[in-house]
Symmetry: C2
Subunit: 680 residues, 2 copies
């Protein structure tokens, strides 16, 4: 195929689908356009101001002035936040052409370029007198990680403003050349403790047409997994240095590292036609999705090492589900989607976009969840807006973090989101994410294809695609796995109509379309009652309610009618159908029978016959001994395993309470919240 390079974050030279760039797809309204607008108007300025006030931008000035290490502020990876901010600016400029953002980008690039050393080295933390030498702290120093983000920023700029004279691409190229000279086949055999340079080098190689960058990315991918980084408290899997990428069967260790590495490895596999590596990655993705992913698409249950737990170790109240891990998961899944063409990758991307990426920022785009718990047991504290919050302990969205990877990661994702809406094949267009949007591209056949998509999705399940050109092509529509009963109605410009069922997966219509033809996809958005694999202990006996791509949550501020202060006492009945006029789902909620506030475990003795004799009540273990002494309370019961009253018991009439989309929780002040709700 002779493909034009798309204005998109990822542009493989092979694969089942070609991405459509920002010049070919524009989101024009709805759920995501609103978030993109907040991103452009509030979040980017917020990040820029914080990078300034935290001194992370000034570090580059100090470097240029030869004043480092004195006065350097921020963690060892703070340079990378500047680069991710640049990448977000570049995509947003590409989307909107905003001149003031362009000035901001140029001014920022100038400060970075001034800090670059003559041989291309660029990092404010290493290499100067009084600092550790260059590349001396590969496991924890994040030097290559930071450069990976620089490369991604340069790719964004190169693709959105080819030939721009700001110098960003040159800075990146200079640094990439140094990396290749330093870490090449006969060079330093190390890898960075945090994967990212792989994906950055691969894409920079694609963008600039430098195969050597892709070769270097491949070297980094292959070197890892042989214990090159040394052991750490949580084991070598933390760095994905326990098993070579092509031998691994599941993602493991630090979740962001794992997904960034997998994304880079996918790039390498595609560019080198390495089927074995791609097969290994597919298997890792499948097992990770099947066993190590929360209902929200979030990943990671270990707070300590920000890592995957073991298979099915997914307790809601210890969900870490780092925002950046969601971004990383989308990066990985997107590359696999382009390679394989399989809609299930787009299903996970949609789930993660709605329930992780959209969850992180507040409505005003100026505060963020770093971690995304599925069960908030105690109302959080509103963080001080002027403060820098610790990494992930904020229980409400916080304006900034000491490790502030999430805000710019969300920003660059939202600014480039248009590129994830649709793809092209040799014979047509595939719509992957449903948003009001304009799509026009030229197929390899030379056919000009133009579509206008109109929808209120996810509030409404109707997606109308209006064809704006005469062309014969295959229109592919992703029908999400949950959309049982979907249908597609094709209405010709001549008014003739046909309706077909559209089962989950890829639904395709091959037709000589005429301008004015419409295809109306109807996705059933009735609420779904979802249960988890019983190996996920903490969700056993619970339901979650989903509607379309949105996971819903029960938030305490909505429990007033049920006279409950927090979600701990709520027992779920059935959702009330249909949804109300505002699209809200209401759940019948019972109040749990009050429990004695004593020892929370209740046992019954198994007698010789297999009978169970019941102790008299919860709280016996810590009950008053005088009371205990006066109450022998030996109660013979049937031969059931029902030994106790500690099972969920609901009392009183059900009260209907509205559920909120999980992504919108925590926007009404401190509250408690749960996604998985116990049933009676």
């Amino acid at each position: 195929m002779n493909r034009p390079a798309p204005v998109a974050p990822v542009a493989p030279t092979a694969g089942a689908q070609r991405p459509l760039g920002l010049d070919e797809v524009q989101i024009t309204g709805g759920f995501w356009a609103r978030r993109q607008r907040v991103n452009a108007q509030a979040t980017l300025a917020h990040i820029g101001a914080r990078l300034e006030s935290e001194g992370w931008l000034a570090n580059f000035d100090l470097a240029a002035q030869g004043r480092l290490p004195d006065g350097r502020r921020g963690r060892e990876f703070s340079d990378s936040e500047v680069y991710k901010y640049l990448e977000a600016l570049a995509w947003e400029i590409g989307r909107s052409g905003d001149a003031s953002l362009d000035l901001r980008l140029r001014a920022t690039v100038a400060r970075i370029a001034a800090a670059q050393e003559p041989d291309g080295y660029l990092n404010t933390m290493f290499g100067r007198p009084g600092q550790h030498p260059r590349w001396s702290q590969l496991a924890w120093g994040h030097e290559l990680y930071c450069l990976g983000h620089l490369f991604q920023a340069a790719v964004a700029r190169h693709r959105t403003r080819p030939g721009a004279d700001d110098g960003l691409v040159e800075v990146a190229r200079h640094a990439a050349d140094l990396v290749c000279a330093t870490f090449g086949v006969d060079g330093n055999q190390g890898v960075c403790g945090h994967a990212e340079v792989e994906v950055g080098l691969a894409e920079l190689g694609r963008a600039l047409g430098v195969p050597g960058y892709i070769d270097q990315a491949a070297l980094f991918v292959e070197r890892r997994g042989h214990g090159v980084l040394g052991d750490v408290e949580w084991g070598r899997e933390y760095f994905q240095d326990d098993v070579p990428v092509r031998e691994a069967t599941v993602l493991r260790g630090h979740v962001v590292r794992a997904n960034y590495l997998a994304a880079g490895a996918a790039d390498v596999a595609v560019e080198r036609g390495d089927r074995e590596l791609l097969d290994a990655l597919r298997g890792q993705w499948e097992r990770t999705v099947a066993r190590r992913t929360y209902l929200t698409g979030g990943q990671g249950s270990h707070h300590q090492d920000e890592a995957f737990g073991r298979d099915f170790e997914l307790p809601g109240d210890r969900a870490y589900s780092e925002t950046c891990a969601g971004v990383g998961s989308i990066m990985f899944a997107w590359r696999m989607l382009l390679a394989d063409g399989d809609m299930r990758y787009a299903d996970l991307i949609e789930r993660t976009l709605y329930n992780v990426v959209a969850t992180s920022p507040a409505d005003d785009g100026r505060s963020f969840f770093y971690a995304n718990t599925l069960h908030q047991r105690v109302p959080g504290v509103i963080p001080d807006p002027a403060a820098t919050s610790p990494r992930a302990s904020s229980s409400l969205r916080a304006p900034w973090f000491e490790v502030s990877c999430c805000p710019p990661n969300v920003a660059r994702t939202l600014a480039s989101l248009d590129a994830y809406v649709a793809t092209a094949t040799d014979v047509g267009i595939r719509l992957l994410q449903y948003a009001p949007s304009s799509i026009r591209t030229t197929l390899p056949s030379g056919a000009e294809v133009a579509l206008e998509v109109d929808t209120r999705y996810p509030a409404d399940g109707t997606v109308q695609v209006r064809i704006a050109t005469d062309a014969e092509f295959v229109l592919g529509l992703r029908v999400p796995a949950w959309a049982i009963g979907a249908s597609a109605r094709v209405t010709g410009a001549d008014g003739r109509t046909s309706v077909q069922p559209a089962p989950p997966g890829l639904f395709e219509i091959r037709r000589a379309f005429r301008s004015g033809d419409t295809v109306e996809l109807t996705l059933p958005l009735v609420p779904r009652v979802t249960r988890a694999d019983p190996r996920i202990d903490a969700a056993r006996g619970c339901i979650a309610i989903e509607r379309g791509p949105e996971v819903l949550a029960l938030e305490s501020v909505d429990l007033g009618a049920a006279q409950m202060d927090d979600v701990e006492d709520a027992v779920a009945g059935l959702p009330v159908a249909p949804v109300d006029r505002d699209g809200r789902v209401w759940l019948a909620v019972h109040r749990r029978t009050e429990h004695a506030d004593g020892w929370p475990y209740e046992g019954g003795a198994v007698a010789a016959s297999g009978d169970v004799r019941r102790t008299s009540g919860a709280g016996r273990g810590v009950s008053d001994p005088a009371r205990g002494a006066s109450d022998p309370a030996v109660e013979a019961s049937g031969a059931a395993v029902e030994a106790s009253g500690a099972a969920v018991e609901a009392s009183g009439a059900a009260v209907e309470v509205p559920l909120v989309p999980y992504h919108s929780w925590g926007n009404r002040g401190p509250s408690t919240m749960r996604v998985w709700i116990p049933t009676a």
Copy 2:
């Protein structure tokens, strides 16, 4: 009351019960005597050798030689491990009179004494040129923490060998005087980031008759909770510096810190007759036991900060349940027991002894669990015996840790365990823990009381108490809360017998006993089926099996007959009663129906009527799109909330498998294990 000072770790001057010391109680056989023997013969030597090989003892030599900081090894709290080792030696010498241990203690004390500075300061990490200044790092430096353990060691030596000329008590007194001079009313207003000096100072004050030490302990207790330590990533509750002790309602933050602080506060409250403080501590204990304690008695569900979770945040697979937290919980509960006389404290102590303290060491006493998970999902790796394991990531017992607080903490607990068996009141004796033992003491009335306890407990529920003196007194017997149906048979030396029911709590027999009288307590040891409060998410729909004080566990090595490799597929039926000849409990186990290895959440749509339409199977979310596309699979079902097949389904005949006491798991090589077992 005119009480002799007991040879015991805690000797309050007031309270409902008086501890009986090692001179009054000796464990003579059985479950705990075996562990004490292993502790004396293997563990103490193992610890001594490791303290030497790790260089933590040599740090004192370097200090004495003026060579520090060069060559110092170990973390900032390594001095404390030496002191806990000394305390364990002192108790063991007190128990057994072992002369070689006495030599070892003396040699160790000499090396420590040589490192003490002229003004009493003692710490190998601070205060020298090239080190941080003394007391400059109170939040994390552990200087006062280390001294607290020194004081506890000195108390042990003073009480077991009063007037010994080894110098340990003098070293401690010198250091304690410096602490009081430095941190007194008008001195440095700081506190240590890790509580421990409070409990050490209070007991040293009691032992040496220095009220000023207790006053200093009170100052430390009262100062904390006002933000004196600064904020940290996990909030000030990590240090218990969020709320003053007397205002707190529950233990929170770092579990060992929280329990050590509560223990010290209890000492202060008792010595100063501070009812308000004691009431606050009682409330904290009650709520902590009711909401933040695992079935094993273990505490702490956060790996990251080794901390309590929120109420009911007790997932089995993320149980941290640090061994030292169990020791700390026993310290706190023991002080409350002496103050209040309430048997529920002894219930928790028993539970924690059998299921945390006894769990940590391997059968050979040379390796340890640092953390005590309730659910091991993947077989662990046997740690390298020569290596030092990271803090808590070992999934099998490890010989030593970088943070090696647990081995000496277990050792000092086992070496002083005799002191936790029984207490005295003004009118009698109370038996709190059942082990073969000899007890003799003099009551305030002057009555000489002597008892011989014989039992195979916990293998058997019969406890025979033989009275060995003629004396009128009240014999109190703790009947555990689970022991519904217990009875006591009193048989006079004359052969006359009476039987009474003995309900849970404190069962008392007031009698003019004659030598040769026996009291036989029968505790029903039939297996119990235990369920958890449903607010403990991960235990919902599960049972645990307990027998007597032992929590039982299902370990994969016993699942061969059920043709299962690990515990993940096991579904519990009923335990098989009665227990077999070896006292083992057998559980009927079904194999769970195989699940598709796809998306682990399954939803059914709620239709307008409230009906649920079922999606066709697990794995749909990641199923092959081609399959999905060919399978519309809209299945109308009844109007139930049973939306999915993801509930636990068991197949095939039940197979009976033996359960192991939780404390003995992991002694047969790598395995998976769970305490909470899902039911069908």
